[in-house]
């Protein structure tokens, strides 16, 4: 494996075939292969082009509002009585989540390729909103594919996308959630590949997507690393982020991978509990397979059919995971753990009441684990949690669980 042959193993993936160890790759129909080749060539050229990087940095500073703060959750940390917990405030980005870091980058690629139309899949709706937002700004036609079930539970984000001029296409096939939205986006792309750019929202899909989405999200970890050094004088002892497809987690983790003293925890959605089978935790309870253009850990049955998933959080409700996470699990660099629906909901309420910050249900999974971890650590230690998004979009879900009907 690559890691044994390089002194900087984490910088050496993916390889030229888009492989992270045995994971990743480009498992798509022939019709899309040359579009992916073209995208990879363009991306590798622009990634090395200082003018492109300046253009991206300008957008991140003045449109997204970066850098996002690294905030010490003092009252919450005091209450837990263990390690100090620092929140990387991706919820303060324009559109309210980390997703926009990536859509800004991919939209610039679309612009450079002269595409007039962008498409996206979305689960919680955050990536859909971020895509619709950047499409509005650049004057691009935008179609967002969203499972019918998610359209129902994320009505606020659906309306936001419509206000931004996007067409939201409800997907009624399969389980009617994120995986089916991704199938449908792929079907659209294969049909309209000449004029359409597919803005994938996570570090999954065929090469080069897992690589380029990671690269765009790494701004989170680069900032958090510098901010930790500035605010605490050293690197954090642990990083915690939720993992659905895994883009916010890779963005935080990647710039720290060579820092051996920094422990990392990727938190998967345990749903009703891993033992019940109703969860979305492929790294914890799945096996390797091929879906959506890459080889990775999947939730699948004994015949290789993809299983339905469950999570209270639409953004984590996905049976696969980015291939780099699959590799980081196998090489043992990152610990992958689970947090159940009810634990995440408790963390949602705890942070809201002690810090006046309402986290997304996705991020609440990371917070719940960070709380458990902090309690086992000492006050001299520091944990950085990626607060990947804000919770306004989840108010209906939380209210209905609490028995409140608007």
């Amino acid at each position: 494996m690559t890691m044994q042959t390089s002194s900087k193993p984490y910088a050496s993936v993916p390889d030229a075939q888009g492989r992270f160890g045995v994971y990743g790759g480009r498992f798509v129909a022939e019709t899309l292969m040359s579009a992916l080749d073209e995208l990879e060539t363009l991306y590798r050229r622009l990634a090395a082009d200082p003018e492109f990087q300046r253009e991206l940095d300008r957008d991140l500073a003045h449109y997204v509002g970066r850098p996002s703060p690294l905030y010490e959750a003092e009252r919450w940390s005091d209450r837990i009585g263990g390690a100090r917990i620092w929140l990387k405030r991706e919820d303060l980005n324009h559109t309210g989540a980390h997703k926009v870091n990536n859509t800004v980058g991919q939209a610039l690629l679309a612009k450079h390729m002269g595409k007039r139309r962008v498409i996206a899949e979305t689960g919680a709706g955050q990536h859909g909103v971020a895509t619709a937002t950047i499409a509005a700004r650049l004057g691009l036609e935008c179609h967002v594919f969203m499972g019918e079930e998610d359209v129902r539970r994320q009505a606020l984000n659906v309306y936001r996308m419509k206000l931004l001029g996007a067409t939201v296409v409800p997907v009624t096939s399969g389980s009617r959630t994120l995986k089916d939205a991704m199938n449908e986006a792929m079907r659209d792309w294969v049909t309209n590949v000449d004029d359409t750019f597919y803005i994938i929202g996570t570090v999954a899909g065929p090469h080069p997507y897992p690589m380029l989405v990671r690269d765009f999200q790494c701004v989170i970890g680069r900032e958090a690393r510098a901010q930790s050094l500035e605010l605490t004088g050293r690197l954090p002892d642990a990083l915690v982020a939720c993992v659905g497809g895994g883009s916010n987690a890779i963005g935080l983790f990647h710039p720290f991978l060579e820092d051996e003293g920094v422990a990392m925890y990727g938190v998967e959605a345990g749903g009703h509990g891993v033992a019940t089978g109703e969860h979305a935790a492929p790294l914890t309870a799945g096996t390797p397979g091929v879906l959506h253009g890459n080889r990775t850990y999947l939730m699948q049955d004994e015949d290789g059919q993809i299983l339905h998933t469950h999570s209270v959080s639409a953004g984590l409700d996905y049976p696969g995971v980015g291939p780099e996470h699959a590799w980081l699990k196998d090489v043992g660099r990152v610990n992958y753990v689970t947090v159940n629906d009810d634990e995440a909901l408790r963390a949602f309420h705890d942070l809201t009441r002690t810090e006046g910050i309402m986290p997304a249900l996705e991020s609440s999974h990371a917070l719940a684990w960070a709380g458990q971890l902090a309690a086992r650590m000492s006050p001299e230690q520091n944990i950085v949690v990626n607060l990947s998004g804000r919770g306004d979009k989840d108010i209906h879900t939380v209210a209905s669980i609490d028995g409140i009907d608007f």
Binding site: T31, M33, S34
Partner: protein, 276 residues
């Protein structure tokens, strides 16, 4: 000579084109598939393309997606599909059978185990939609070990250099996807197909079959002028689904076989009208 190569060679001596119907194994029921395969052969099919149901058929349009969902609703597994082919072989040892599906069920079974089981069942070839040339080498090696063909797709978007790389690894025939899109979509542009087939022919002597967009005798005849074979998928699946929609359980098989014979017979006549 493999069954597929033999069948194309025989058709070539007769000046005829291969008619390749596609059905999803287990749709509309697990017991219907083998009789349906025989009915398709009786009505003029030269090669049977059998879809292996998958939960996430990314390259399929709504018609074939729904066929996959119906087949999965009664748990048609890859090993069940292989059992269907074995049963088909008890009465038909001549008609080539091609399995078309997605990588994950095959990966889950294991490439070597799949190749052994498929060869044992009497399968002649596999077409795995999401295993492009860059990803298919390991499976292709196993298929060759058991003398099966891996069928490669060439698309309208495939540049010259890729065509050359694909035909080098290919055997059996080349499957040209006539449209950018999913199965069952769009309008066929015959001139465009002609141009692309000419490019492929410049690099290979393998037979060329065309799929996507062929729905009746007329479109089959127009494509048959250009290619060595035509694949009929969504049109057939639509026709079969409609035929059994309002029929009670007892009458289903008869209605299904009737409908299959009707459409296949008509397309067969369309194709043979251009035989030379």
């Amino acid at each position: 000579m493999s069954r597929i190569a033999g069948r194309f060679a025989q058709l070539a001596t007769e000046g005829r084109r291969a008619l390749i119907p596609y059905i999803v194994a287990g749709d509309p029921s697990r017991t219907a598939t083998v009789p349906l395969m025989h009915a398709l052969v009786s009505a003029g099919a030269d090669i049977i393309e059998l879809g292996v149901p998958f939960s996430d058929p990314m390259s399929e349009g709504p018609v074939i997606q729904q066929a996959h969902e119906r087949a999965l609703a009664h748990h048609t597994r890859l090993r069940d599909v292989l059992a269907m082919v074995a049963e088909f072989r008890q009465q038909d040892n001549d008609t080539p059978v091609l399995l078309m599906g997605y990588a994950n069920p095959v990966e889950h079974m294991g490439y070597a185990a799949f190749a052994d089981a498929a060869a044992e069942a009497g399968v002649d070839a596999a077409l795995t939609v999401d295993l492009p040339p860059e990803e298919v080498a390991d499976l292709n090696r196993e298929l060759r070990r058991v003398a099966m063909d891996n069928i490669f797709l060439v698309a309208p978007t495939t540049p010259e250099a890729r065509i050359r790389a694909i035909v080098e690894q290919a055997s059996g025939f080349i499957y040209y996807v006539a449209l950018k899109g999913v199965t069952g979509a769009g309008h066929l542009d015959v001139d465009d197909v002609a141009e692309h087939l000419a490019h492929i022919r410049a690099h290979t002597e393998l037979p060329l079959a065309v799929g996507f967009g062929i729905k009746d005798a007329d479109s089959a005849a127009r494509i048959g002028q250009l290619a060595n074979g035509v694949v009929v998928g969504s049109a057939l699946v639509t026709h079969l689904a409609a035929a059994v929609a309002d029929v009670d359980a007892e009458g289903q098989e008869a209605a299904l076989l009737d409908a299959a014979s009707g459409l296949m017979g008509s397309i067969r006549r369309g194709l043979d009208s251009i035989a030379s």
